[in-house]
Symmetry: none
Subunit: 200 residues, 4 copies
């Protein structure tokens, strides 16, 4: 019990540093972010930063983990609101894609992280989201296809999730595109349904 205040303080510092990391990335991009900027943004000395994180990499990784957890949570909360059980697969997919695109568009850090996916441990961000989506889709699969197991489900999901994420981020990065967002989302959802439903 005596340790509580210290642990709380420590947790607060970690949280403050992660907030500062996010703010700095949002402001200056991943490449433009330095540990000194982060410390300054956090209103903390650079020495303190290194007392809580061994290096810059650890800071980014922690932020990604936190982002993953929070995004997963937000997705599940949103899924509850919409009463996912009443929806068909197309609607579930549409929902998820919209959530993803909105996240990327509204959260510059999310945008920056996925843009630089191969230079950061992006799975820390994506894995929780993947799990959240699978959990959300599970009842649907159980209800409708429990006796008709989908062939290669794992591979299909791997492809669909990666496809959706990277199509969305590439669409977001492109400054101008001939394609309308609504159409893109609809078509993506369509592809998902066609792929997962054995023979609709």
């Amino acid at each position: 019990m005596r340790k509580a205040p210290k642990q709380k303080r420590s947790r607060e510092m970690v949280s403050r540093l992660l907030d500062a990391t996010a703010a700095t990335i949002a402001e200056r991009g991943l490449d433009g972010t330095t540990t000194n900027h982060i410390a300054e943004q956090a209103g903390v000395s650079i020495g303190s930063l290194y007392q809580y994180f061994p290096d810059k990499e650890a800071l980014v990784e922690s932020l990604l983990t936190r982002m993953g957890e929070q995004a997963g949570l937000r997705f599940r909360q949103q899924a509850k609101k919409v009463d996912i059980n009443a929806m068909n697969l197309h609607q579930v997919a549409l929902n998820a894609i919209q959530f993803g695109i909105l996240s990327i568009r509204l959260d510059p850090v999310m945008y920056e992280m996925i843009r630089n996916w191969s230079r950061v441990p992006i799975h820390k961000l994506l894995d929780p989201l993947e799990r959240a989506f699978l959990v959300a889709a599970q009842p649907y699969f159980l209800k409708h296809y429990s006796n008709y197991p989908i062939h290669n489900l794992e591979t299909k999901l791997y492809i669909l999730i990666n496809s959706t994420i990277f199509t969305a981020i590439r669409y977001a990065v492109q400054e101008e595109s001939m394609i309308e967002e609504k159409e893109l989302v609809e078509t993506l959802a369509d592809i998902i349904v066609r792929t997962l439903v054995p023979a609709a």
Copy 2:
């Protein structure tokens, strides 16, 4: 007329610098590549490099353009060899995916460029490939679906191409994956067919 030899020399120099850029990226990765390395690799002074290219960015962009053209050419040549007219859509797709995965795996520059797609003008590489694929697929569409035009074809192709490329590169980057490559390729081809064929 007097300019001809100069222009030839100029073209040779440009080509030499692009070769050096590619070699250096292959050897040291995109981040590890410096303009001085490139000049040295080309056997040319750094000053000369800057006479032909305004900055590093321009060098990378030119290389991407050249890579795109060459890859498009290779794809078309290979498509000719296989007699694409005799294949069904599934086989055409399989062909293209295999071509892409092989390119990424065998060409370290291609790999490196796509890995860092958001930091380079990746469209210079992908657009020609996209066009080459469309040209190759065109006779197929004309032959089979000329009177039943596919809905949203452009959007679908945009999605499918991006999906294939990024699923492939993310698969290539991952050090270990539970999924077998053959299954991944098959499933990707499957998704493409299901998406493009209205109701097979």
Copy 3:
């Protein structure tokens, strides 16, 4: 009287910190040793460390003093065992050199301190050793040369002791040497005898 336990505790703390300093130097070298490492190694807060020692320098100096005292003691104990009175000067010298080389080789802290002799108050370590050696050699001189006082004895001893110590440490630091240790030790002892014995 009330102070007694405190003083004991204080002495224990000092001793603990010196042990920790030695252990850390042995483990990480003098340059790699930080005050925080020492405090951690001692199982004590960094703040407490600074309650007992004003700075890092004082810590090292105290350790050197303690090492000097202990090494002097060990040397005297060993000298007793061997019955130094029955030995001739060559054997006495051989004995001392072997003791020194062994100390440097077996005790990483001793090695590290002498290696960095000019950055630490090395005399705190060497003076007691010098005195111990002089005390050990005294009866020999009294017995054999009391009526033929050695000219410049003090200077000669100063030179011989420094020569022996630094030849030994330089030999220990060198990774490869053409010279065999046995020969080195024998020759050193020889030099000492020739120097101290007026005309043998």
Copy 4:
């Protein structure tokens, strides 16, 4: 021939940087010397420094090599002046020791380097000096002892050279000593003679 001016400029820059290194070490000590100080002292950008030396270590090593060569040269020149052939061994030794002590006392860089001998490649400095001394002593040995080869000459020289150097530097480092310099030097020379002359 066309390369001459460039090579000259390069040699000048190297020389200028080594001068600056020496000046900085003389001014601030080895530990207080930073690459930025050196560049500033040389009136050159830090980038230029790193164009000529890969790292700080290389700079120090080069300086030591140059110092060794120059010191060896100075020693030989001085030896010529004194007509070493007319001297006996005691005078030769005295000469060398005086030269060494003077070098250490008058050249703060020499002093600093030897003081920190275990942290710099000190052999780059000492080897040329050793060789110069051997060359200077050679005629003496040939003349007087060619038919009575000295036992263990190599080992003896190793010990005597190290002994002399480190006794001298330790004497120089000590702020106060009971011993007079003249006596120290005389006694050192004496020890050298007694050691090298089988039975005078």
